[in-house]
Amino acid sequence: MSGRAFEAFLTRIYVDAAACARFRANPRAEARSAGLSEEECTALENTDWVGLEMAARSFAHKRGLKRKKHLRTSFRNTLRSLFATFSARFRRN
């Protein structure tokens, strides 16, 4: 197996719903179009389909939580720097 290309393919079907749907409809063709070897294409035909759907859903949920956390952190840091800026100006005046 060619390691990196295979992991990149898995990543795509985990995060891209359209790519995942194409893969489910025709696993060998989708794997071939990603440049994977015949051995890899055969391995992917035996995918744990139930697990794939559940894992993709779980990963999407985690990405959503991360986005929310990132927004909260950015908002908090923005407020902090604004507060620091105004505090400094207030002290100078």
Binding site: G3, E7, F9, N46, V50, M54, S58
Partner: protein, 289 residues
């Protein structure tokens, strides 16, 4: 007499801070998510340093993706190295997972294909991590809802292969073992006997919930939002019976927080499971002598 100095700690979460500070005499150590501090303001890092001066701290990384055929990015390791230098934890840990590929982020820990390629890739990444961070990581087994496509090795053979190819020890997540054993049909106690117990260094315990699959079956999701189930304490007893090392056990809870008393009670159950396992080990050692 028990010759081991096993310790039981808790994952540091800001929501639990008040309860943690009120019960430091019952918490042997805290595990802090390192990635939360990689780009944090200096005062947050200073607060972490103050915490580490009061209680033993270990750092836990979640975003490196060391179990990959792709080389881990140096900048991620440098950030960990800087934080390790600032905080001086007892150890740092990461996961046997990949988290990105082809320029895309999965957003969570994914199980790579269990192959010779990923054994070699993980060993190289762990060696690179040790060199850049200046201390070796302890590596954690992960839970996976999907049987990793393209695998040619069993999970136990894959983990054993990585440990044999590196000098890093194992952070054995027992809820992940339990979840994978239910989801992919193996005996979790047999699994523990198939991996090298001499490399058990730390242990995670946590809880999860069953979720429905599209075909009507159920799989166990390791969400860290529920109490530790009894079978995980049984596995902890088993791990303590097998391990020749003192163990650091950490209770992970990421939300839906119960009372601090409830978390402390689970930590006490962990201590009891460790004691049962150590007693079994002592009996077995006496028989051998």
């Amino acid at each position: 007499m028990n010759k081991f100095t096993d310790r039981v700690g808790l994952g540091w979460r800001a929501d639990l801070a008040a309860g943690i500070f009120s019960n430091l005499d019952r918490i042997d150590l805290l595990e802090v998510i390192a990635d939360d501090f990689f780009n944090a303001p200096r005062r947050e890092v200073r607060a972490l340093q103050t915490l580490a001066s009061q209680v033993s701290v270990v750092l836990h990384g979640v975003g490196m993706g060391l179990a990959s055929s792709a080389p881990v990015e140096a900048k991620r390791l440098e950030k960990m190295g800087q934080l390790v230098e600032q905080v001086r934890p007892q150890f740092w840990s990461e996961h046997l997972a990949f988290v990105r590929g082809g320029g895309l982020e999965i957003g969570h820990l994914a199980a790579p294909p269990r192959t010779v390629d990923t054994v070699e890739g993980a060993a190289k990444n762990m060696s690179r991590a040790t060199a850049i961070v200046s201390s070796k990581p302890i590596m954690e087994n992960i839970a996976t809802l999907i049987d990793p496509p393209g695998s040619t090795l069993s999970e136990s053979a894959w983990i054993s292969g990585i440990l044999a190819s590196s000098d890093c020890d194992l952070l054995l997540d027992l809820h992940n073992v339990y979840a994978n054993s239910l989801n992919h049909g193996y005996d979790p106690k047999a699994f523990l006997r198939q991996i090298p117990a001499a490399r058990f260094r730390a242990i995670h315990i946590a809880g999860g919930k069953f979720i429905s699959a599209p075909d009507g079956s159920q799989r166990l999701l390791d969400d860290h939002l529920h109490d530790v189930p009894d079978p995980v304490f049984d596995l902890l007893e088993e791990a303590a019976a097998l391990s020749p090392n003192s163990l650091t056990v950490i209770l992970e809870r990421d939300g839906a927080y119960p009372s601090m008393d409830c978390l402390l009670a689970q930590m006490e159950l962990a201590r009891q499971a460790l004691a049962r396992g150590r007693a079994r080990r002592a009996v077995a050692e006496e028989v051998l002598v």
